[in-house]
């Protein structure tokens, strides 16, 4: 391993889709600044590296690690601990690491249900009904694969995290701004934010960046975008019955979806004051339903076809409950 005197940089993906890595690459020329200012020591998606190389590094020798992905299996957890030990600054990068994201939705299902979906669905060819075997004894000896955990955990449920950079994926300009900040810190031109801060995002909600007109809200019906014949391009989507998560979602994306006529689905995670994102939204939506008739209210609520997906798409693993009963019961 070379030692060119530059601070060391690492990036890792655990249970995630890879979108975060692409978002980093999407910063364009900014990526050259990373190279110019850092020595990249570990970044499996971009360069060859071995876990044992990281293990060999002195503790705290990596200045900055961007960790994306949730903790789904034993390997994820081991690397999270390893990188925590080796890094001075560990950033939960992207929605999966911060709050569980889409992989976290599997927390509504038991391991067996998940395996059934993966290995027995119509898209699988698995006539022999194979299932992952975590221990296999072969003539050559015992073989292990990482244990699959019953629930997916966020990075800070496993190790101590210094900063959170939300988004699914984080917007490239926000990543670029964070890279700039870190470089300024290195050059003594800026100081680091307080530990535990959310970086690369705003401090209020998507509504703050959304140009749509907002009025006092009363909702008679929830509708999906394709059910609306003519969407008012100027008016708040929620007022038009489109269940937009903007009011509870941290800003940072620039309200991209509402500007394009699609509801915010909440990828930047909970806003500053929000402890449980889904619970907040549920009580907010329930508060503006314009009916006093229990049956009508029930019927309006039924118009949200997938409540878990609507309210906890990104945040289930990071919510107060963290997981559904089937996952806990195992």
């Amino acid at each position: 391993m070379s030692t060119n005197g530059k601070p060391k940089f690492a990036m890792y993906w655990a249970a995630s889709c890879g979108g975060c890595e692409i978002a980093v690459l999407n910063t364009g020329e900014k990526i050259l600044d990373v190279d110019a200012n850092f020595e990249v020591v570990f970044w499996p998606v971009a360069m060859d590296a071995k876990y044992k190389d990281v293990e060999a590094m002195p503790d705290g020798s990596i200045l900055l690690t961007l960790f994306n992905g949730g903790i789904r299996n034993q390997e994820n957890e081991e690397i999270a601990h390893l990188l925590r030990r080796k890094s001075q600054i560990l950033v939960a990068f992207g929605s999966c690491a911060c709050e569980g994201c889409i992989p976290g939705l599997a927390n509504l299902s038991s391991t067996e249900q998940i395996f059934k979906a993966v290995y027995d669905s119509v898209t699988s060819e698995n006539a022999q009904n194979y299932r992952p075997q975590f221990h296999t004894t072969m003539p050559e000896g015992d073989i292990h694969i990482p244990k699959f955990y019953p629930v997916l955990r966020t990075l800070d449920q496993v190790v101590d995290v210094d900063y959170y950079l939300p988004g699914c994926p984080p917007e490239s300009h926000q990543i670029a701004a964070v890279i700039d900040l870190v470089i300024q810190v290195l050059n003594g031109q800026a100081s680091l934010p307080l530990k535990g801060a959310v970086i690369g995002a705003g401090q209020s909600t998507v509504c703050d960046d959304c140009p749509r007109q907002r009025n006092v809200k009363t909702i008679k019906a929830f509708r999906r975008i394709h059910e609306v014949e003519e969407l008012d391009p100027e008016l708040c989507l929620l007022e038009q019955g489109i269940p937009c998560n903007g009011p509870a979602t941290r800003n940072g994306c620039g309200a991209l979806c509402p500007k394009a006529g699609a509801q915010c689905i909440g990828c930047y995670g909970p806003a500053n004051g929000v402890v449980d994102y889904g619970a907040r939204l549920i009580s907010a939506f329930a508060s503006v339903i314009d009916s006093n008739d229990p049956e009508e209210i029930e019927q309006i609520l039924d118009q949200i076809p997938d409540p878990a997906g609507q309210f906890y798409r990104f945040n289930l693993a990071g919510s107060l409950l963290r997981a559904g009963k089937p996952a806990w019961k195992q």
Partner: protein
């Protein structure tokens, strides 16, 4: 995502566990709870724990005061009864010892523990958890100061029935101004329609009209009749109320109340309100001779001039030229410190119970119709006759509980119907000599001299049948039933079905909330029960206050009641208001919601949720703000705010999560866990 920050610098916390005699100590091992808290919660700052027979006694309070002074306590947790009862007591004790009163937390181990559990071990474990929750929570408390607001000396009374009149006179007599708002042209309410009042049989008008006159001529009372409140702004001590004075087309300054317009008016209309549909009034009318104020009203919908463009008979004959057809609704704004709502009740419409035949069978009457029939000033001059206006009945059936105590309509008892029906029986007996039957479920003649009246009516020979009437029909089966109304009833005392033919049936209809009770409640920022009666602050100990400071209720608006109770409530409400006025200012609980303007992005979800209209939206900055004096700390907006931008003083996320953490300190390993869950 965020870790809770640890509290810097430890507090010195005292924990006091109350036995409440055996109320708590009978189920909860209070000594064990105190010892546990001392041992296990020491790391959280608990420096002293005590248990005491009655913490609320002056000795108990002195214990706390002494510890605050001698031990330098900075926080106090009292584990006793519900905060509703003694929170103020213990806060006061803290204040006496120089500790800010809001640094005291009361946790309920009586209502929430000892009274709801039977298993001593589990209940003790739960009491420990509740105490630990209180300790964790109190750490996050902040010293607060009560909000002082001045009280405007004027009062508004809404509703000019007997309760409202009583309240208005009491306050006015004490020397403070009152605005009395009445929807109808005259004050008087339902009582003005009655003839006799039970149990004394004194004439309603004779006892009511002097009060009406007093209210009408009192220098401190301004009556807005034929008027409605359209808007209420402000908060306790400082309400701004807008009143719509409906155009009566009569200039009140010029009118002398001579009644010539009424006499000359050619339009004759059935009087649905005052005469309950049994009599007529004119298009220009004074509802009844003793009306206060005396000014007539021209009923636009039934005025020949407004209908056809010609007539103006009233104007031609008016000696003072007071008729003004160009008059328009007038909006008046007044400032008041307190408001008493005495808007009364509506009568249940017995048409809903079609088997009783009201509206279909001519000689079935409602109780209000009977009141008018029996009233000497009524359409028949007090003659009790059938619908034809001449025939005296020889037999009358009076049915109790029509629409009351009936799960199909109203579960509640309307309170007055038994006594009212007895009064009817007496009047029929006295005036017609007819045979009278009363059909009752249970006789309810509580209160002073009520049962004596029942005995008297029994002795007069009224026949009582215990049973709920199944049907009133004119389909005769026997010759003696021909031309009669037949009451089909199960006589539950004799265990037989009876068919009783009568000439006249009177239905003692239920009292129901005003049809617009929910709107009125919303307008004034108070709550209705599921039935629609306004909800008092405490059903026993605070019957005329509401959860909204400065809004009081009196009379039937709070639930069915008789005249003495309505008068008592009117007086009680006025006493509460006078107390406020005398204080000059009021200290408001500083439990308030506030919006963190840096987080609020103006999504406006909270904007129309506030029952107290305390939220205003700044269009220019796109943020919502809460008026601290209007806010009652109910928490509705806090729950709704999707951005978590709204916090309630004393109920912050930190406080609530800390309390939950505290509750979790106790490991429930008990077979009765399910009971606790």
């Amino acid at each position: 995502m965020k870790k809770q920050t640890e509290i810097e610098g430890k507090e010195r916390i005292g924990v006091y566990v109350c036995h409440c005699g055996t109320n708590i100590a009978g189920i909860v091992d209070v000594e064990d709870v105190a010892a546990w808290a001392e041992k296990e919660l020491g790391d959280r700052g608990v420096v002293i724990t005590r248990d005491y027979k009655f913490m609320c006694s002056s000795l108990g309070q002195e214990l706390i005061e002494k510890d605050i002074k001698e031990q330098g306590l900075t926080r106090v947790v009292v584990a006793a009864c519900s905060p509703h009862l003694h929170e103020a007591t213990f806060r006061k004790a803290c204040e006496n010892a120089g500790l800010n009163r809001y640094l005291c937390e009361l946790v309920s181990i009586r209502e929430q523990v000892s009274w709801v559990h039977t298993d001593k071990v589990a209940a003790t474990a739960k009491a420990k958890a509740v105490v630990a929750g209180g300790v964790e929570r109190v750490i996050h408390h902040e010293p607060l100061e009560a909000l002082h607001v001045p009280i405007h000396p004027a009062t508004m009374v809404v509703g000019g029935g007997i309760a409202g009149i009583q309240a208005a006179i009491e306050i006015a007599d004490a020397g403070f101004p009152v605005y009395l708002v009445e929807r109808e042209p005259s004050i008087g309410g339902h009582m003005a329609q009655f003839d006799k009042t039970f149990p004394t049989l004194d004439c309603a008008a004779c006892i009511l009209t002097p009060k009406m006159v007093t209210a009408g001529t009192h220098p401190n009372i301004k009556i807005f009749s034929y008027s409605e409140v359209t808007n209420v702004d402000g908060y306790v001590g400082n309400f701004t109320v807008t009143i719509r004075k409906k155009a009566r087309y009569v200039n009140e300054e010029l009118c002398t109340g001579c009644g010539i317009c009424q006499e000359k008016c050619p339009a004759k209309v059935i009087d649905d309100i005052y005469e309950a549909g049994l009599g007529y009034r004119k298009g220009a009318y004074i509802p009844f001779p003793q009306a206060v104020p005396k000014f007539p009203v021209i009923d636009k919908a039934n005025c020949v001039f407004f209908e056809r463009g010609t007539c103006k008979a009233c104007q031609k004959f008016c000696p003072t030229n007071a008729i003004d057809f160009d008059q328009e609704d007038e909006y008046v704004t007044v400032e008041v410190g307190n408001i008493i709502l005495a808007t009364g009740y509506d009568l249940f419409d017995p048409r809903q119970i079609s088997q009783y035949g009201y509206g279909r069978l001519a000689n079935v009457f409602t109780s209000m119709e009977f009141e008018r029939l029996s009233n000497a000033a009524g359409p028949t001059n007090g003659e009790i006759v059938l619908r034809d206006g001449v025939t005296k009945p020889t037999s009358v059936g009076i049915i109790h509980c029509v629409g009351s105590r009936d799960r199909n309509y109203n579960n509640y008892c309307s309170v007055i119907c038994c006594m009212q029906s007895l009064k009817f029986a007496h009047l029929v007996h006295e005036r017609t000599g007819a045979t009278v039957y009363n059909f009752y479920i249970d006789m309810r003649t509580a209160y002073k001299e009520y049962d004596e009246f029942y005995q008297r009516v029994l002795e007069e020979g009224t026949l009582f049948v215990r049973g709920k009437v199944a049907e009133v029909t004119d389909a005769a089966r026997l010759s003696i039933e021909e031309g009669k109304l037949i009451i089909q009833v199960e006589d539950t005392l004799a265990g037989v079905q009876r068919r009783i033919p009568v000439d006249m049936v009177v239905l003692s209809a239920a009292m129901i909330p005003r049809h617009d009770a929910h709107d009125v409640a919303h307008l004034f920022g108070i709550s209705c029960s599921a039935n629609g009666w306004f909800i008092e602050k405490h059903p026993k100990l605070d019957p005329v206050a509401t959860m909204t400071e400065g809004i009081f209720i009196a009379g039937c608006v709070q639930g069915p009641k008789d005249i003495p109770s309505s008068v008592a409530q009117g007086a009680a409400a006025s006493a509460r208001v006078l107390g406020r006025i005398q204080q000059g200012e009021i200290a408001l609980e500083p439990v308030r919601a506030t919006v963190d303007q840096s987080i609020c992005s103006g999504c406006r979800i909270c904007n129309n949720l506030c029952p107290f209209n305390a939220i205003l939206f700044h269009e220019d900055r796109m943020v919502s703000e809460i008026n601290a004096a209007l806010c009652q700390g109910c928490g509705t907006c806090i729950a709704a705010c999707p951005a978590g931008a709204i916090t309630g003083t004393g109920f912050s996320n930190e406080q609530i999560f800390a309390q939950i953490e505290g509750l979790m300190r106790v490991n429930f390993q008990h077979e009765k866990m399910t009971e606790l869950a």
